[in-house]
């Protein structure tokens, strides 16, 4: 049985239940139960109409759960009056589900968890394993999130930007585990892009595709990070790059620039360079100018200094860096790199070591420590 197909049906089954009058939290639980049952019985006995089967079983689970709760007898009477389960409508409200699961009243972590379960069709256990927390903790995080959005009207359009932030988080901070969260983020963003015509949705999808294309080249066999300039570009996925560039070009043609399109444009310029030396840094600096204008993000300003260093030389990069607050994360790492390019290896080694102490993750710390060590070894020879 195709688990991805099963999971892709999750949002539309859930919205059918909600349309029939089930409250979101109970409907979502019922759909989880139906998914678990499908995983159990479909292998031996696959249904002809997968979605119809899921709707029928989820609705029965919902009625069972409602009946079991004596205190909710009155609502049971109401739901029994609803139309009997039948063929599911072809048009679904999956888009509304995205908005609900990314509702601004939710914390980012809650929105991520709820989106992965209610839209992505992942089980609580899979989500817990992906984020390295106990299943009980993740179950509570999800049920709290459902309580938080319980009063939200299901028929009002939401803010696309909040949905994009959630999907970006799933992609960018996905841990490695049983579930490939980067691939899942791409699947959910594709599904969203098919339902809403918005250049930033396309921009985010392009950004994800272009970065996913480099995945095989990004880490060495020992798990250490390979910087962009040193990656084996022959291992980049050209199909994903072509798709990402195509999606991005169509979005840019709409002339409604946003931060994700700008980030994707930078990734596309890297993808376009056959070797690191042939990178069009001048254009990349221009895109960083757009990006800092759009977001004023400190990360973008730091990366801009790196790009300036490549386009106009390390001195120019250091001058751009001098305008930024030294307390920014990765400031020391960028300064180290620019000093190394400028030939001041002693300062570079000191700054790499300082940056390693402040690194927010292990792979980056090891990478910075290695660079400091290499410079120190070379100098002592």
């Amino acid at each position: 049985m195709d688990e991805l197909l099963l999971r892709s049906l999750t949002p539309s089954v859930l919205t059918v239940l909600v349309r029939r009058g089930a409250d979101f939290a109970a409907a979502e639980d019922a759909v989880q139960d139906a998914l678990v049952e499908a995983l159990r019985v479909w292998a031996a006995d696959p249904p002809r109409d997968a979605k119809g089967w899921l709707v029928t079983v989820a609705w029965r689970k919902f009625l069972d759960a409602t009946r079991a709760d004596a205190a909710r007898r009155r609502r049971e009477d109401r739901v029994e009056d609803e139309p009997a389960p039948g063929p599911a409508p072809a048009v679904d409200d999956t888009l509304q589900l995205y908005f609900l699961c990314a509702h601004p009243s939710l914390t980012p972590a809650s929105a991520v968890a709820l989106t992965l379960r209610a839209v992505g069709g992942l089980t609580t256990r899979q989500i817990a394993e992906a984020y390295l927390v106990p299943e009980a903790t993740m179950a509570q995080r999800i049920s709290r999130a459902k309580r938080t959005v319980s009063g939200v009207r299901f028929d009002r359009p939401g803010d696309v930007a909040t949905v994009l932030r959630v999907l970006y988080l799933v992609f960018n901070e996905g841990y490695s585990g049983d579930v490939d969260l980067a691939a899942e983020a791409i699947r959910l963003t594709r599904q969203l892009a098919a339902r809403i015509d918005h250049p930033e949705v396309a921009g985010l999808l392009a950004l994800m595709l272009l970065h996913h294309a480099r995945r095989a080249a990004r880490t060495a066999p020992d798990g250490s990070l390979v910087p962009l300039a040193e990656q084996d570009r022959g291992r980049w996925d050209t199909h994903l790059i072509a798709e990402g560039v195509g999606v991005l070009q169509a979005a840019l043609a709409r002339d409604r620039l946003g931060e994700f399109q700008a980030q994707a444009a930078i990734a596309a310029l890297h993808a376009d360079a056959p070797t690191a030396g042939e990178t069009d840094w001048v254009q990349i600096v221009e895109w960083y100018d757009e990006l800092t204008r759009l977001t004023d993000s400190p990360v973008a300003r730091l990366n801009r200094a790196v790009a300036v260093g490549e386009a106009d030389g390390p001195r120019a990069g250091l001058a751009a860096l001098a305008e930024l607050d030294t307390s920014l994360p990765r400031h020391a790492a960028v300064a180290a790199y620019l000093h190394e390019r400028d030939g001041d290896l002693e300062t570079a080694a000191r700054l790499y070591a300082e940056a390693a102490l402040k690194a927010p993750n292990l792979a980056e710390r090891d990478h910075l420590t290695r660079r400091a060590a290499r410079l120190n070894t070379d100098r002592s020879r």
Partner: protein
């Protein structure tokens, strides 16, 4: 989300405000303290922020490799070691501010006389997985 370690020390932390050793508390005060810790962990599980909590025995040993084919060397415990870890709680929270807020609550566990201990807890961020998008 980011994970933080809330580290509790037997020794090595600055002195707490209510600095009476546990063996001089009343049994009821000890029970109240344990109850507070359990309730705190249960509450964090409900908020979806709990990852792990463990206590360590104070007595341990130092162990090191002693060369090919030889058993490891053990030594200690060294009474003069100034830092001694008592246990930890691991939390998964939205911000550093939230981690500090929770550590503050945990430090308010009751001690002698039923009063808050105000003990110093060490808050340490975990090194996370590297992000995909960096440029």
């Amino acid at each position: 989300m980011a994970k933080y370690l809330l580290l509790k020390h037997y020794r090595g932390a600055p002195a707490s405000v209510n600095d009476v050793p546990m063996d001089q508390w009343s049994p009821e005060e000890i029970s109240a303290h344990v109850q507070y810790m359990n309730d705190f962990a249960a509450r964090l599980e409900k908020t979806g922020e709990f990852v792990d909590g463990q206590a360590l025995a104070p007595e341990g040993a130092w162990v090191r490799y002693d060369g090919e084919g030889r058993p490891p060397v053990t030594d200690g415990p060294f009474a003069e070691t100034k830092d001694l870890i008592a246990g930890w709680m691991i939390i998964d929270v939205d911000s550093y501010e939230r981690a500090v807020e929770l550590a503050g609550e945990l430090s308010a566990a009751p001690g002698a006389g039923g009063k808050a201990i105000h003990e110093w807890l060490e808050v340490r961020p975990f090194l996370a997985a590297p992000p995909t998008i960096t440029e």
